[in-house]
């Protein structure tokens, strides 16, 4: 997880997405405890309130849950839920941008498809 104050996204969104990435790659397995907001804020030099805001997004969307007095845990089924969410965003985040850049460069749809095939062959 990398936090950048000059990034397009607010810091609390970066925190939430960074934890999501860690869950997707399996770095934070389901039912495991994630670092506390204090640990996150010290690691990235950010205000604890910001870290909490980021973590709360994941609690509200059912990706994590709080165990009182113990800490934050990854919910069972969180990984699949996130995969589904990221799949839904894939078109907006990658395909739309890919087409816009291709149009700027005069790359035809057929050429894009060929490039994708080439990418898979590597």
């Amino acid at each position: 997880m990398l936090i950048n104050t000059e990034d397009q996204r607010p810091i609390f969104i970066q925190i939430a997405e960074g934890i999501e990435d860690a869950i997707l790659t399996g770095a934070y397995p389901e039912e495991s405890q994630i670092p506390s907001t204090t640990e996150i804020s010290i690691r990235y030099n950010i205000n604890p309130a910001t870290a909490l805001k980021g973590v709360n997004i994941l609690v509200d969307s059912g990706i994590m849950y709080k165990k009182r007095g113990v800490g934050m845990f990854v919910m069972a089924g969180a990984r699949e839920k996130l995969q589904q969410k990221r799949r839904n965003q894939f078109f907006e985040n990658y395909i739309v941008k890919l087409i816009a850049e291709a149009e700027r460069l005069g790359i035809s749809p057929r050429e894009i498809i060929m490039m994708i095939e080439r990418g898979y062959e590597r």
């Binding site: 104050t5 397009q8 810091i11 804020s41 030099n45 205000n47 604890p48 910001t50 816009a100």
Partner: protein
């Protein structure tokens, strides 16, 4: 519980350093006090702590007038540029005396920090480099355990490693023992993530006081072909712009209607430093 500053003005001869400043500093928050050189940051901090006297206006600390009031002033610690210790005093004695003045001073914590930063306790204050002089003051500030800690240029002369250590220790201390920290600094990017609220002071007047996230969200940057950018920003509140040949980036305050943005313009967030530069130019 808060520090309430109402209608404070201060002049030095013909120069008005603070003009009718009103400000509320709440309990348990980290503030960034941002302003250019000579904007009045240090004057404001010195008035809060009764080291300077306002020409008019009042400062209340938790409801009590601060002026000549030891009980109220005991709740506030100001780390200033100037050293107030006798020059011949040894570092170890500075810590010892701090405990006399601040009954809740955490000596164990101060000694732990001294070791972490490699501060030599046997050195005399006058023999410390600029960096270590700042480090000594930082250590005292983080160990006094008062509700309000005001830090005037805390990282002056610190190298990158020591600055990073300071920010981490500050965040950790704040998590474990919440207090109000007001950080006055020119290194805006470094504290942008740490501060919750921003106070921007310009030529003796407070021009902004709000949450850091909220302030940044009030604006955006639009970049692209100069002609297209100029058309797009014609009816907008432009706080500044940068040109590079036929390209232009304009900094806008206001909410963005994404649907109205021409396809070849790029919209990005403002960052605190850019916003600050434009607001105080």
């Amino acid at each position: 519980m808060s520090i309430e500053i109402t209608g404070v003005s201060k002049s030095f001869g013909p120069v008005a350093a603070l003009k009718d400043v009103s400000l509320s500093i709440a309990e348990g928050k980290i503030y960034g006090l941002l302003g250019r050189n000579g904007a009045g940051k240090s004057t404001l901090l010195n008035i809060i702590t009764n080291r300077l006297f306002a020409d008019s206006g009042t400062v209340l600390i938790d409801g009590e007038p601060a002026a000549e009031n030891d009980r109220a002033l005991g709740k506030v610690y100001l780390m200033s540029e100037k050293h107030l210790y006798p020059e011949g005093m040894k570092v170890a004695n500075v810590l010892k005396w701090s405990r006399h003045f601040y009954p809740d001073f955490d000596m164990d914590f101060a000694l732990t920090l001294a070791e972490k930063f490699g501060l030599n306790l046997n050195k005399k204050v006058k023999a410390l480099s600029t960096g270590y002089s700042s480090i000594l003051k930082i250590i005292v500030s983080l160990s006094v355990n008062v509700p309000y800690v005001l830090l005037d240029e805390p990282v002056l002369g610190l190298d990158a490693n020591h600055r990073d250590m300071f920010y981490k220790i500050l965040v950790e201390r704040y998590s474990l023992r919440p207090a109000t920290y007001v950080i006055s600094t020119h290194l805006i990017e470094e504290v942008a993530g740490i501060i919750e609220d921003v106070i921007i002071i310009k030529e003796g007047e407070i021009i902004r006081q709000e949450s850091c996230e909220g302030l940044i969200a009030q604006g955006y940057t639009v970049s692209g072909n100069r002609t297209v950018v100029d058309q797009f920003i014609a009816d907008k509140n432009v706080i500044g712009s940068d040109d590079l040949g036929g390209l232009k980036s304009a900094y806008i305050l206001g909410t963005l209607d994404r649907g109205a943005v021409p396809a070849d313009l790029e919209i990005t967030r403002l960052d605190l430093q850019k916003l600050f530069i434009q607001l105080t130019a």
